[in-house]
């Protein structure tokens, strides 16, 4: 309302913000830059190849089936980059492309496009890839080696499986903990010098980028905080009960995709609750599910299914946490 006439009469809304969907989306894309740089620092050119293929798959699908100029709003770009960051560095890039196409096609457009989807598209794409190509999705190259060295058979022909390479692979810290009961120093986890998917290695970079977005109010800080709190509290309780069997909270917090998932995927504006109380419930639910799946589930990592399951609960959370409209509701009696 910067009109020269202070008495101009118009219909509401009278307050506006410079933020728009494309602006928020492109800011998030930019904030993923350092995360991408870290991934490429640890995994070399393979990281960029995988992320580029996943992003291309997402963009092509959005362009082909999306209506109007939805390609420019940046949300398909985010989905593609986030999906790429959840994949292992040695993945054949045609699989990453298929995952990106599935994420946008079946994760977003089929529901009616941006704002209509129930599940986080990037995680849905990853869930599809995990179910379709279970071996390729659990082959984790170790960081290290020269920048130009491929970390696996990235350039396998489309539809063909990855050939044998001499890339060094190994279990992720969570896999080591679950199947061999071997710990990993927390400092390694925090700075990212461990095996794992592209974006799950360096907690430090992701937390910095997340803090920037939270300060700009582009992500709801309540969700990551409640995820971390739930994981820390539950893990601490279990650790106190039986220390040799259950890992320490710091390990649970900084291993696997928890930091990336809690910061970038659980906070997806479309698939998280609209109320503040709902955000706390949502985040706590994810945290509990992550610990339960990691410790008692058959999988080493539970962030993906934890977030997807809580995504499904969002409509119900929204319904039960509606604030009472002022002036309505129960009559509490005259005092």
């Amino acid at each position: 309302m910067s009109s020269s006439n202070p008495l101009v009469v118009t219909a509401s809304p009278h307050l506006s913000t410079p933020d728009s969907t494309p602006r928020i989306m492109w800011t998030v894309v930019a904030s993923l830059g350092p995360v991408l740089a870290a991934a490429s620092y640890f995994f070399g050119v393979s990281a960029l190849l995988v992320v580029a293929a996943a992003t291309l798959g997402a963009l092509v699908t959005e362009f082909w089936f999306g209506k109007g100029r939805t390609l420019l709003d940046g949300s398909a770009m985010i989905t593609g980059i986030l999906l790429g960051l959840t994949l292992p560095a040695g993945l054949p890039i045609w699989m990453a492309f298929v995952g990106g196409a599935f994420a946008i096609g079946f994760g977003k457009l089929i529901f009616g496009g941006l704002g209509q989807n129930v599940f986080n598209p990037a995680l849905l794409g990853r869930a599809f890839l995990q179910a379709a190509f279970p071996v390729a999705l659990t082959t984790w190259p170790k960081p290290g080696g020269t920048w130009w060295e491929l970390r696996g058979d990235n350039l396998a022909l489309p539809l063909m499986s990855a050939g044998a390479t001499d890339a060094i692979t190994g279990a992720t810290p969570l896999g080591l903990m679950k199947f061999e009961h071997a710990g990993t120093p927390v400092s390694d986890l925090f700075f990212g010098t461990t095996g794992g998917s592209l974006g799950e290695t360096s907690a430090l970079v992701i937390l910095l980028c997340g803090t920037y977005l939270a300060l700009k109010n582009y992500l709801n800080w309540r969700i990551p905080v409640s995820v971390f709190a739930a994981v820390a509290i539950l893990a601490e309780m279990l650790h106190l009960l039986d220390a040799p069997r259950f890992p320490a909270p710091a390990f649970m917090l900084f291993s696997g995709g928890l930091v990336l998932g809690a910061t970038y995927m659980a906070t997806d504006m479309v698939t998280s609750p609209v109320t503040n109380l709902g955000s706390w419930i949502f985040g706590a639910g994810i945290g509990v599910l992550v610990v339960v799946i990691r410790i008692w589930g058959g999988l080493a990592e539970g962030v993906m299914y934890g977030i997807l399951l809580m995504n499904a609960m969002v409509p119900f959370i929204n319904r039960v946490t509606q604030p009472r409209v002022f002036g309505t509701g129960r009559v509490t009696g005259v005092r």
Partner: protein
């Protein structure tokens, strides 16, 4: 219901209409209706259980389709043949009994002829008894029409069912195992999409097919038509 305008033939079955002069339906129409216009799976969305459960390979799809076709034709002819002597109150029980008889025949024949396929189909052959397509055609068509028309209708519906299963089986087998009827298509280094032979693959394939068919029908109609509205209204007016 908008399909009355789309498809005049459907007025002659389903809910009883006010007595008036009906034009005779060409046998060809009876036969072809089930293949495309009223395809039991893609348009009426009936018989979902076998469609989703056994279409992970072409061989399974063909066996299930043929067994269902046999049961469908047999029961519809028999139901139509005895329709004048069956009281309304016990008609469903009679239909189920007739269908169960044919299913038992199909089950035992399949076990004798192709034991491997019979084993991989598992419980889904006996479950043909509760396949909605068969009960729907018996109730909505065979119990009101002559034996000849019922047979043609059942044949058409059965073929529509087989074609759909075959389509799903082909997509799922090629993607999920890289084979067609057990023969390798892409060589040994093909990376199978494991999800496609698992239950989620069935849902994904069926959903994608329904999407394409719905889009096609909408485009043909030139306006929005309700895609999944069943083209036959089985018991309207008969159930009090």
């Amino acid at each position: 219901m908008t399909h009355g305008a789309v498809e005049p033939a459907s007025m002659t079955h389903g809910a009883p209409v006010a007595p008036r002069a009906r034009r005779p339906v060409a046998p060809r129409e009876d036969l072809l209706r089930g293949v495309w216009k009223e395809n039991p799976v893609l348009v009426q969305v009936l018989g979902m259980c076998p469609t989703l459960a056994v279409t992970n390979s072409v061989a399974n799809s063909i066996a299930m389709g043929l067994a269902t076709l046999f049961v469908l034709v047999g029961s519809c002819v028999l139901v139509s043949g005895i329709r004048r002597w069956v009281p309304d109150q016990v008609r469903i029980a009679t239909f189920v009994l007739i269908i169960a008889t044919f299913v038992t025949v199909a089950d035992m024949t399949l076990e004798a002829v192709a034991p491997a396929i019979h084993k991989s189909l598992g419980a889904f052959v006996p479950l043909i008894v509760v396949n909605c397509i068969i009960l729907a055609r018996a109730e909505a068509f065979a119990s009101r029409q002559s034996v000849g028309r019922s047979a043609l209708d059942a044949l058409g519906m059965g073929f529509g069912f087989i074609l759909t299963l075959l389509l799903m089986g082909t997509i799922r087998e090629i993607l999920g195992s890289g084979t067609l009827l057990g023969r390798s298509l892409f060589g040994p280094s093909y990376e199978p999409w494991v999800i496609m032979v698992l239950p989620p693959g069935g849902f994904l394939t069926l959903g994608a097919l329904l999407l394409v068919v719905g889009w096609w029908r909408q485009r043909k109609a030139g306006r929005a038509v309700p895609v999944n509205e069943p083209a036959c209204a089985p018991t309207v007016g008969k159930v009090a």
